[in-house]
Symmetry: C2
Subunit: 101 residues, 2 copies
DNA sequence: TTTACATATTGACAAATGTAAATCTATTGA
DNA sequence: TCAATAGATTTACATTTGTCAATATGTAAA
């Protein structure tokens, strides 16, 4: 369980604007200009968030001419779900001594 | 879909030290002093992270005498999973016009 | 009621993050 | 080739976050 990678993946979900962007992308692939229309942030700020979303693996971009089309990446989402499971499922390894009794 | 709440929940997973703490708690309930032993951070810093983990709903604390025992909260985890699903599942509402063609 | 101990809170500070203006790059169309 | 457009990058700055020392709070033991 790589802590650095885990933190990187979930950076996608811990900022309100990025959550908003993901919600918009649930409706299907959208280009940056369309996202920009629906958000109240500047173009460089959108670009910054799109980079973080792509770095996390939750979103992928596709360039078509002048336009960048972004969509939610199901493989990335699947990985996030596996990490979330892995992080929160109990592990039954060696019997733990009770703590501070 | 509340963006603020979503961001709050996933704050639990976007810092390396908190990921580390969650991994430690997978072995079962642990008191703060035990967590402190296994991490290389100060006591106030641990306390700070435990507050964020509790605020996110992923961890709950139980006070017993001088000690605080922390454990992963399965209800909180379940909610996080639902939010993750909700954020990343495609919605099939009105047919979207193709973007920027 | 002291004393010791576990943990939380406060305060200060450095590092990371979010933001927008200005600029750069790439692509299209005239 | 030149102008226009979409988006990324750079720069600067304000806010947020992570960190620890010092202190406060609460509990148990002497």
């Amino acid at each position: 369980m790589d802590q650095r990678k885990t933190a990187l993946i979930f950076k996608a979900f811990c900022d309100e604007n990025r959550v908003r962007i993901l919600n918009l992308l649930r409706g299907g692939e959208k280009c940056a200009c369309r996202l920009l229309e629906e958000m109240s942030i500047s173009q460089p700020t959108l670009s910054h968030h799109m980079r973080i979303l792509c770095d996390s693996g939750i979103v992928v971009g596709r360039k078509e001419g002048k336009w960048m089309h972004y969509r939610i990446c199901s493989e990335g989402v699947q990985l996030a779900k596996e990490y979330l499971d892995g992080l929160t499922n109990a592990q039954t390894l060696d019997e733990e001594k009770p703590c501070c009794e």
